[in-house]
Each structure stands twice: as C-alpha cells, then as structure tokens.
C-alpha cells in the first residue's frame, strides 16, 4: 500500500528517533550497568507507595509539586504582568521588583532562603508547601514576562472597541483582552511548565522525597549511581512528553474554538 506524503514523513521521523535512541542505548551499554537494583526501587521512584513517614514520594510527589506550583505561578505571573502594565507606581514597583529579584537570582538560592531563612523569623514551613512556594515564586516571575507580552500583543483596536462600548478597564481586560492573550501565551507557558517540572528536582534540598532525592539516595546506598540517575532521567523525560501532549491538546482546542 502506498503511503501519503505525511505518513511517509512521519515514518522517517520515527526511524530517526529510533536510531538516536539505539545510539543512546549503545552509549549507556558501555557503562556495564546493572539495572537489577532499580527494579525493586522503581515503584518508589514512581511514587506508587508512600514513604515510611506516610508522605508522597517519587514521581507522584514531583507531579503534585509541579502542578501546584504551576497553578500558583500562573496567578502570580498574571498579577505581576498586570502590575507591570499598571499606571500605579506601587503596583508597577512591586511587580518589577518581584520580577527582577526572582529572575535575577538562582532558584536554588531562593529555595534555601525560604527553607533556611523563614525559620529564622519564626514560622517553620512544611517541606511540601515551601517547595511549592519557592517554585511558584520563581516561575511566576518568568510567566509574568510571557503574559505581559501576550497582553500587549493583542490588537489595540480591541481595547478601543471595548472602551467605545463603555466597558470598564477591568471588564475589558477580563472579557476581551485576556481570552485573546491566553491563546498566544499557551505555547511559551507550556515550555515553562516542562522547565518547572525538571527544576522541581531542586526542592530535594528541602528533604522532599521527590524523584531526584530518591535517585541520589538509592544511588549512594547501592553504589549504582548511574543506573538510578538514568532511571530518574527517563521518568522526567516521559513526564515532559506527557506535558507536551497536554500543551498540544490545549493549543488544538483553542485553535478549534477561535482560529
């Protein structure tokens, strides 16, 4: 049977992927690895069981922290984007300071500041909320740039039309501008989400038993570091691919709705 040109293209892409994966496997095979140590720890790495303290662990924890952090980051990012577009000096000042600080300092430092710094003031944050807060604060700053650009990118004629109908600034933003900005913000936001998922490994320093924490601990105890790190890498990769599909699905839906 003859293939359509698109089908043929897809087949060739698949072959390229398969060869690259094979090459990668060959490279790794040279390490003389023994994956038997991974097998019994794999359910923990995926987070299918709770840890001895009865808390989430592994990929399940990473996913939970990432989704929660992303949700908070979107709210923070939107607020900061509106602040940067605001005529109020206070809102603008708050937004720009926030943006500058959290984009200008390493995420690891921010995590340690929250984890080690906050207890100096009194409150000792629980590890999971603290991890979510650190990631959300950092990624909210990056998202604010994406959202600001998306809002500014909406045709000014849309503002004029809504204003000319007597709509308030707030209603115009909410009902006219944001729904349109949303569409152009989805692809870069999806990319940020994938990046956040991987950066969630940094919260292992807070003692959260997420993927990287487990991989490193198991690696140390079994002297099979590379095997466990590779396993962690594959888990992150598969999760990222899942997010890519989620993003593609969302884009598709938005396109179907308003072209």
């Amino acid at each position: 049977m003859l293939m359509s040109p698109q089908g043929f293209f897809r087949l060739r892409v698949l072959l390229v992927w398969a060869s690259l994966l094979l090459a990668f496997a060959a490279f790794v095979a040279g390490f003389e690895l023994d994956f038997s140590v991974v097998r019994e720890r794999f359910p923990n790495l995926l987070g299918l069981r709770l840890n001895p303290d009865g808390a989430l662990q592994g990929a399940a924890l990473s996913v939970l922290v990432s989704f929660a952090a992303m949700a908070v980051a979107i709210v923070l990012g939107l607020a900061a984007a509106l602040g940067k577009l605001s005529r109020s000096a206070i809102a603008y000042g708050l937004a720009t300071f926030y943006n500058s600080f959290f984009r200008g300092t390493p995420l690891l430092v921010q995590i340690l500041l929250i984890y080690l710094g906050l207890p100096q003031l009194g409150p000792v944050p629980a590890a999971i909320p603290a991890g979510i807060a650190a990631l959300a604060l950092c990624y909210g700053a990056y998202l604010s740039e994406i959202f600001r650009a998306a809002i500014v990118g909406v045709d000014p004629g849309q503002w004029e039309a809504a204003q000319a109908l007597g709509m308030s600034q707030g209603a115009t933003m909410l009902r006219v501008i944001l729904p349109q900005a949303f569409k152009s913000a989805v692809p870069p936001t999806g990319a940020m989400f994938i990046s956040l998922l991987k950066d969630s490994s940094l919260v292992s320093v807070m003692g959260l038993w997420e993927i990287m924490f487990l991989a490193q601990s198991y690696g140390r105890s079994s002297y099979r570091y590379i095997e466990l790190l590779l396993t962690a890498a594959v888990i992150y990769w598969v999760l990222s691919i899942g997010l890519e599909f989620l993003q593609a699905w969302l884009e598709q839906r938005l396109r179907a709705r308003h072209g």
């Binding site: 045709d155 004629g157 849309q158 004029e160 039309a161 809504a162 204003q163 000319a164 109908l165 007597g166 709509m167 308030s168 600034q169 209603a171 009902r175 006219v176 729904p179 349109q180 569409k183 709705r257 308003h258 072209g259």
Partner: protein
C-alpha cells in the same frame, strides 16, 4: 416631516445633541486639530471629509473620549466633557451615549457575532443573559445578519463583519453613532452592503457623524458636510450646496481629486 424639511436646509433648530467648541489636539508637538467647532442636531447626518491626516479620525475619537483633547469642550446629550474633566466615570457615561464603528471592524474574534453584541449590554448595562440575547438578535436582524448569530467573525466577509460591528454599537442604544471610514478597509464590491445599512440607519432617524471618503455617499445621505483642512473646519454646510458651489480653493481641489480618483477606479 417638518423636521426632515428643516434638516435638509442644513440648519439645526432644536438644541444641538452634540456640540463641540474649540477642540485642540496635538500629538507630540504636532498639532492635529486646532479649534474645531461642531454642532449636530438630533437625527442629523454629518459627513466629515478631508484628506488623510486632516484630523477626521482624531475628532471622532475625541467625541467619544477614546482620545483626550488638549483644550475645548464637548456637550453631548446633557453630558459635558472638557480637557480638564475627563474622569473615567464621565468617559464611560459618554461612551454609553456615543457608539463607534471602526475602519477595521474590531470585532472580538474569540466571540460569536451574537456574543459580540451581548457582551457590552451585559457588562455595562447589566442586562440579563436572555435579555441581552433578545436585544442582540434584534440588532443583527436590523443589519440583516440574524442568521449569523452563532458565526465567529473569521467566518464572515469584511462587509458582514462591519455590519455586525454596526449592530454591536446599536445594541448599546446610542444617541449618536460615529463611523470612522467604515468602508475603507473593504473590497469595493463589499462597500455597498455596509453603505445600505448606514443609509437605513439615517432613514430611521439615527444621528450619525461619519468620516468618509465615499463622496457620492456623503452627498446623498448627509445633511451637513464638514470639510476639515489642516486641523480646522475649513468649510461646512448643506451637502448639496457645498458640493455644487464650494467656496474655497481647498475644497474645490479636494472634491476634484476625489472625483478623479473615483473615475480612475471605475475605469
């Protein structure tokens, strides 16, 4: 009937619905309008003509508060706007009285034609969903677009989009409708349907102020013609009189250039 007869004398007997005095506007030091006076009676159709850059668009945008003025005063239906008093509340009140239709339609692309019309009545006038829907349908009916209630703007032709945009402005029950070169972005074969819609509005007694390059149309439907030149009202009066007997060289040149342009297009 008596009212119509009066209108065609180019006079406004009743107190003006729109009265602008001494409007000045400049952009970054370049004066665009210097000292515009304009008086428009209820039910009157006024055409603003003049070269591109003569300030037609700026004047329309100032009349509904989209652009602030540097000096001057506008009275519209008992509401006063000055260069000093342009609080957000006053502006919103003004805009609920003054509708505007744009050259590039500016329909909301993420909403269907029907929802384009329902949004402002719900958001500004506080109408319920059903009420807004009934009103939207009636307005689409008025511009012959009722069957496109559920169509997204991208599925409509330019002429259809502009008719929906007119209906959207009408859905706010404005006392005055401003039209900013509403056929300039349309293919020539699509201007007719939009002009027909405007003609119908004029016949229904809607007060219209339109910036236009459609000279024949301006001559046909307008009661008052205002020729803007270098940011001033250079000449104004009854359309017929102005076209047949322009008093200044500038207007003569302008009408001549427009006629030549149209002749060239028609060839």
């Amino acid at each position: 009937m008596a009212e119509r007869a009066l209108r065609h004398n180019g006079q406004t007997a009743a107190p003006a619905l729109v009265e602008a005095r001494g409007i000045h506007k400049g952009y970054e030091g370049h004066p665009v309008l210097h000292g515009i006076d304009l008086k428009v009676g209820a039910g009157e159709v006024v055409a603003l003509i003049g070269r591109s850059g003569s300030g037609k668009s700026s004047l329309l945008r100032i009349l509904n508060g989209l652009v602030s003025m540097d000096a001057g005063q506008i009275d519209i239906d008992g509401l006063r706007l000055t260069a000093q008093d342009n609080a957000a509340r006053t502006l919103r009140q003004l805009r609920s009285t003054v509708g505007m239709v744009f050259q590039k339609f500016n329909l909301f692309p993420h909403l269907t034609a029907g929802h384009n019309l329902m949004l402002a009545p719900q958001s500004v006038l506080g109408l319920g969903r059903e009420e807004a829907r009934v009103r939207a349908l009636a307005m689409l009916e008025r511009v012959g677009m009722a069957d496109k209630f559920n169509a997204y703007p991208r599925h409509l032709s330019g002429g259809q989009q502009q008719r929906v945009a007119i209906a959207r402005a009408l859905a706010m029950s404005p006392k005055v409708l401003l039209c900013d070169e509403i056929t300039s972005a349309l293919d020539p074969e699509l201007t007719g349907e939009v002009l027909d819609t405007v003609r119908q509005l004029a016949a229904d007694g809607m007060t219209l102020i339109m910036a236009t390059h459609e000279m024949a149309f301006a001559r046909e439907v307008s009661d008052q013609l205002v020729f803007l030149h270098e940011g001033k009202v250079h000449e104004s009066g009854a359309a017929e009189a102005l076209f047949s007997d322009p008093q200044t060289a500038e207007l003569r040149n302008f009408i001549g250039a427009m006629d030549r342009g149209r002749a060239a297009r028609e060839r």
